[in-house]
C-alpha cells in the first residue's frame, strides 16, 4: 500500500506532537494547572491570527503568544503559578483580541481566507506539508528533551513544594520553565488538533495515565505513549471515515479511552487512588 504524503506528514508530526503533549500534560495535571492549559489554548488562537493578520509566519505568532503568556501567567500569580480568576480575566481579554485580529484578517483578505479562523481553532493536520511536519518534529523533540531534563526536580517540587524549597531546589524557576514548556507544547498541539481542542490532547492522556499507575515515571511515559497511540488511532479513523474531521477523531479516541479507564476504576475501587 502506498501512503499518501499528507497522511505520512500527519503521522510524522502527530507522533512527535503527541509525545510532547503527553509528557507536558502529565505534569500539568499533576500540578493542577489544567486551567492554565485551557487559557493557553485561547491564547494560541489569538497568536496565530495576529501573525496571519500582520502577515508573518503563523507558527511564529503561535509560539510567541503561548510561551509569552504562559510565563506571564506564572509571574502574575507569583510563586510560579497563577490564580484562576487572574487567568480567567487575562485569557478572556486575549480571546477578545483574537476576535479583533480575525476581523482584521478576514476584512483585509476577503478572497478565500474565510476558513483561516476555523483552521486555527480546530486544526488542519492533514494540511501540513513535509517541511512543516519536520519543524514540528524538531520542536517536539526539544520540548520532550526539556521535559525529561527537569522531570526529576519538577516532580519533587510538584508533589511537595515546601520540602523541595528547603532542599534548595529552585522551585520558582522550575515553575517558569515548566510554563514555558506548556506554552510551547500548546503551540505544537494546536497545529495538530487546533487551538480549541489542544486541552484534550494535554489533559486526557495524562488523566488516564494517572488513573492507571501511581508510579510517577511510569505514568509520565504512559501518558506520552497513550497520547501517541490515540493520535495514531484518531488519524486512522479519520482517514478511513472521511466524514470525521481528524481533530474530532483524535479527541473522541482520547476521551473514549479515558472514560473506559474511569469506569473500570469506579467498578473496582483502587486503594491507592489519589
Amino acid at each position: 500500500m502506498i501512503w499518501p504524503s499528507f497522511l505520512v506528514n500527519a503521522l510524522l508530526a502527530g507522533t512527535a506532537i503527541a509525545a510532547a503533549a503527553g509528557l507536558v500534560g502529565y505534569f500539568m495535571v499533576l500540578r493542577a494547572q489544567v486551567f492554565t492549559g485551557d487559557a493557553l489554548s485561547h491564547v494560541a488562537f489569538t497568536g496565530a491570527l495576529a501573525a496571519l493578520a500582520l502577515g508573518v509566519d503563523e507558527r511564529l505568532g503561535l509560539f510567541a503568544a503561548t510561551i509569552g503568556v504562559g510565563v506571564a501567567l506564572g509571574a502574575l500569580g507569583g510563586r510560579g503559578r497563577a490564580d484562576d480568576v487572574v487567568i480567567g480575566n487575562v485569557f478572556a481579554w486575549i480571546l477578545g483580541l483574537g476576535v479583533f485580529f480575525l476581523t482584521l484578517y478576514t476584512t483585509n483578505n476577503s478572497a478565500g481566507n474565510g476558513n483561516a479562523g476555523v483552521n486555527v481553532l480546530f486544526g488542519s493536520i492533514f494540511g501540513l506539508n513535509r517541511s512543516e511536519a519536520i519543524t514540528a518534529v524538531i520542536v517536539a523533540v526539544l520540548i520532550a528533551a526539556g521535559m525529561v531534563t527537569i522531570a526529576r526536580p519538577l516532580l519533587f517540587a510538584s508533589i511537595d513544594n515546601a520540602v523541595a524549597t528547603a532542599r534548595g531546589i529552585p522551585v520558582r524557576m522550575l515553575g517558569y520553565v515548566f510554563l514555558a514548556l506548556v506554552g510551547a507544547a500548546a503551540a505544537e498541539a494546536s497545529q495538530a488538533v487546533g487551538a480549541l481542542l489542544l486541552l484534550g490532547l494535554l489533559a486526557a492522556p495524562a488523566g488516564t495515565a494517572q488513573r492507571l499507575t501511581t508510579r510517577p515515571y511510569s505514568a509520565l511515559l504512559l501518558s506520552a505513549g497513550l497520547a501517541v497511540g490515540e493520535v495514531w488511532a484518531g488519524l486512522t479513523l479519520s482517514y478511513t471515515v472521511p466524514a470525521l474531521p481528524p481533530s474530532f477523531a483524535i479527541l473522541a479516541v482520547a476521551t473514549g479511552v479515558y472514560a473506559l479507564v474511569l469506569l473500570r476504576a469506579r467498578a473496582r475501587w483502587h486503594p491507592l487512588r489519589r
Binding site: G96, F100, N115
Partner: protein
C-alpha cells in the same frame, strides 16, 4: 458598525441615531439582560472559585447550537439543552477534596475539548455552514429579534428569582462549606442548583456574545468588583454596574467601527479589571492584607 459617518460626540444625538435602528434597540435590550444575569452569576462563580467549570459550561453551548442547526431546530434549544446537561455532568463529577482537584480538572478539561470537537463535527457534517461558525463562536449582537429578547428576559427573570431564593445559603456554603454543612445547609444540593443556574445563564449569554466570549462577561465584572470591595452587597451591585457599562460602551463603540463588539466589551472590561487591581495595590498595606486574609466578612450568613 454600519451606515453612519461617525459619532457626533453629542451623546443624546448619537443615542437617538443608534436607537433609530430596531436591531440596535434589540441589541441594547438583550445586552442589558445578559449583562445583569451574567454579572450576578459571575459574582457567585468567582466567589466559589469555579472559573474552570464556568468556562467549560460556556463552551458546551457550541456543540448544542451546532447540533440544533444540524437537525433543523432553533439554536436556542440547543444552547439550553447542552448547557443544562453539561451543568448536571459537571455537578456529578467528584467534588474537589484535597488532592482530588487534579483529577476533577483533567476530567473537566477533557469534557470541554470533546464538546468543542463534537461541535466541530456537527459543523463539518452540516456542509456550507462555515460562515455561521464564527457567529456561534463569537456572537452576533446585531441580529437579535424581539422574540429572542422576550425569551431572554423570561429566562433571566426566572434564573434571578431562583438565585434570590437560594442566594443567602449559597453565599454561606460558598464561603465556608464545612461550617455551612455543620449548620445543616444542604451544601451539595446548593452546588448542583448553582451549576444548573450557571448553565442557564451561559446558554442565555451565548446566544448574544457567542460561546467563546460569555466567559468574559461572567468573570471580568465580578473579579473587578471583588478586587474593589470586600462587602458582598456592594460588590454585587458594582458587578452588575460594571457589566452594564462595558456592554453598553462596547455596543456603542462597535456601532461606529468595523470591529466586532466582543473585542470592545472584553477590552473595556479588562481595562476596568487592571485599573481595579492597580487601585487595590496602591491602597494602604494593612487594608490589602486584611482583604486577602478574608475576602468576605464571614458574618454574612448570620
Amino acid at each position: 458598525m454600519i451606515l453612519s459617518a461617525g459619532p457626533s460626540w453629542n451623546p443624546i444625538i448619537d443615542l437617538q441615531q443608534m436607537w433609530s435602528f430596531p436591531f440596535m434597540v434589540n441589541a441594547f435590550r438583550a445586552g442589558t439582560i445578559v449583562a445583569v444575569l451574567a454579572g450576578v452569576m459571575g459574582w457567585f462563580m468567582v466567589l466559589r472559585r469555579q472559573s474552570f467549570a464556568g468556562h467549560t459550561l460556556s463552551l458546551i453551548g457550541f456543540p448544542g447550537a451546532a447540533g440544533a442547526v444540524l437537525i433543523g431546530v432553533a439554536a436556542s434549544y440547543g444552547y439550553f439543552a447542552f448547557c443544562l446537561a453539561g451543568a448536571l455532568v459537571i455537578a456529578a463529577l467528584p467534588r474537589a477534596g484535597p488532592g482530588g482537584y487534579s483529577e476533577e480538572s483533567a476530567v473537566t478539561g477533557t469534557v470541554q475539548a470533546l464538546a468543542l470537537a463534537c461541535g466541530f463535527l456537527f459543523v463539518a457534517l452540516y456542509k456550507g455552514f462555515l460562515n455561521s461558525i464564527n457567529a456561534l463562536l463569537f456572537g452576533n449582537f446585531l441580529g437579535i429579534s424581539a422574540g429572542q429578547v422576550t425569551l431572554l428576559g423570561v429566562v433571566a427573570a426566572l434564573s434571578l428569582a431562583a438565585l434570590a431564593v437560594i442566594g443567602r445559603p449559597l453565599a454561606f456554603a460558598s464561603i465556608d462549606p464545612e461550617v455551612a454543612a455543620a449548620r445543616n445547609v444542604p451544601v451539595r444540593a446548593l452546588s448542583v442548583a448553582f451549576l444548573v443556574l450557571l448553565g442557564a445563564a451561559t446558554a442565555e449569554a451565548s446566544q448574544i456574545t457567542g460561546t467563546l466570549l460569555v466567559f468574559a462577561l461572567l468573570v471580568m465584572p465580578a473579579a473587578t468588583a471583588q478586587a474593589l470591595t470586600a462587602r458582598p452587597g456592594r460588590a454585587l451591585a458594582l458587578t452588575v454596574t460594571i457589566g452594564l457599562v462595558v456592554t453598553w460602551l462596547g455596543l456603542s463603540v462597535a456601532y461606529y467601527t468595523p470591529f466586532p463588539v466582543g473585542f470592545f466589551v472584553t477590552s473595556f472590561a479588562f481595562a476596568g479589571y487592571v485599573a481595579a487591581q492597580a487601585v487595590r495595590h496602591t491602597r494602604p498595606r494593612w487594608r490589602a492584607a486584611s482583604s486577602e486574609v478574608s475576602p468576605m466578612p464571614t458574618g454574612i450568613a448570620r
